[in-house]
Amino acid sequence: MSAANTEVAYNSKIEGGVVVTKLDAAIDWIRSHSVWPMPMGLACCAIEFMSASCSRFDISRFGMEVTRFSPRQADCMIVAGTVTYKMSQAVRRIYDQMAEPKWVIAMGACASSGGMYRSYSTLQGVDRILPVDVYISGCPTRPEALFDGLMALQKMIAKEPGLKLLKRDRPVKPLYFG
C-alpha cells in the first residue's frame, strides 16, 4: 500500500474538520437559520410578536431573531393583524420592496382569513394580495404558535432547491387565492 492511498483513506489531522454534504443542503441550512423577519404589525397580533421577541419567550432561540423594520433588509414578512382594503396597497408595496428570497407568514385569524372582521372594509385574508407560505391560527396568536409557524417555515426553506434558486431568477410565487 502506497503512502498516498493511506492518506486518502484516513488522515487524523483533517478527520472531524471536514463535512461532506450537498451544496443545496448547505445553502438551505444557512438560509433557514438566518431568516430576518419584518413585523407588519397592524393589530393585536403585533403585541404578541413584541412579547415573542422579548426575553420571556425569546425568539432568538430559533435562528430567526434579527428583526428588521425596513423591507430592504428583511426576508420574511410577518403580517400580524387586520388588513383593511385601504392598508392592503401599502402591505403589497412593502412586500414588493423586499429583496429575494422572501417569505410571508400570515399571523393570526385576521391576516389568514379576515378573522372576525367580516365587513365592508376588511381584506378577507392577506393571501388575496401576497403569496403566503405559512398560516398561523389564533386570535391573537400565542408566541408559542408563532414559533411553531416560524419553525414550519424553516422546514419549508430546508426543502427548497437552494442552488437552483441561487442561479436563476426565482419564479414569482402564485397567489393561493386568486
Partner: protein, 210 residues
C-alpha cells in the same frame, strides 16, 4: 338625568329660546337646535357657559323611511361645572344631508366631522377640509347608513398597482352564517370566534340565496 343636569338644561332653555329640549335623554342635558342657529348656540356655550371641550361628534341615520333622516350630534363638556351638553341638529335634506360645521368653534371637531361625513354621508358646511378620513377618497358609499349591507358592496380596489399584480377587488365579505361570536368551551380551539351556522361558505353557497 341628575338634578344638576336638569337645572342646567332648564337654565340654558331659558337663556336661549331658539333651542328645544330633546325628549328622552337619560343622561345629559340634550337639545334640538335649528341648523341656522347652531353656530351661535355653540359660541354661546363656549364663551359664556364655559363648555370649552368637544368630546365627540357623531352622525346618525334614523332609518331609511324616517324624515328628517339624518342628524349630527355634538357632545361638549365643561371643565368648570363638569357637565355635558348634547347638541342635535337635523339635516333638512334626506338625499344630500348638510349641517353647519362647528370647527370654527371647537377646532377638535375637524376629524370627527370628517368621520361622520365618511361613514354616514353628512356634509358639514364651512368645514376647512371636508374629505373622507377612513375609507379611501374614491369610495362611492357611506357604509354606516342603514341601507348599506354589513358585508359591503363590490367596488374596484383603490390601488391600480396592486390590482395589476394581484387582480384583487373589494368584494362583499362572506358572512357565512354570521354574526361571528365566541362560543362557550374550554380550549382555545373551541372558543375561537366563529359563525353559528357553518354549513355555507364562499365556495358552498347558502341554499336560500339561490
Amino acid at each position: 338625568m341628575t338634578e344638576k343636569d336638569l337645572a342646567l338644561q332648564n337654565e340654558l332653555l331659558e337663556k336661549y329660546p331658539y333651542v328645544s329640549v330633546r325628549p328622552g335623554s337619560a343622561d345629559h342635558a340634550s337639545f334640538d337646535v335649528p341648523a341656522d342657529k347652531v353656530v351661535e348656540f355653540a359660541l354661546a356655550l363656549r364663551d359664556k357657559e364655559g363648555f370649552s371641550s368637544i368630546n365627540d361628534v357623531t352622525g346618525c341615520d334614523w332609518g331609511v323611511d324616517a324624515s328628517p333622516r339624518f342628524s349630527a350630534i355634538w357632545h361638549v363638556y365643561s371643565h368648570e361645572c363638569h357637565q355635558y351638553v348634547r347638541i342635535n341638529v337635523y339635516a333638512a335634506d334626506n338625499e344630500k344631508p348638510a349641517v353647519p360645521s362647528l370647527c370654527s368653534v371647537w377646532a377638535g371637531c375637524n376629524w370627527h366631522e370628517r368621520e361622520a361625513y365618511d361613514l354616514v354621508g353628512i356634509t358639514f358646511t364651512n368645514h376647512p377640509d371636508m374629505r373622507r378620513i377612513l375609507m379611501w377618497d374614491e369610495y362611492p358609499y357611506h357604509p354606516l347608513r342603514k341601507d348599506f349591507p354589513l358585508a359591503g358592496i363590490e367596488v374596484p380596489h383603490p390601488d391600480p398597482d396592486t390590482v395589476a399584480q394581484t387582480g384583487v377587488r373589494v368584494l362583499p365579505a362572506p358572512m357565512n352564517g354570521g354574526p361571528f361570536v365566541s362560543c362557550r368551551g374550554n380550549t382555545m380551539r373551541e372558543t375561537e370566534p366563529r359563525a353559528l351556522d357553518q354549513e355555507w361558505s364562499e365556495g358552498n353557497r347558502k341554499p336560500s340565496a339561490e
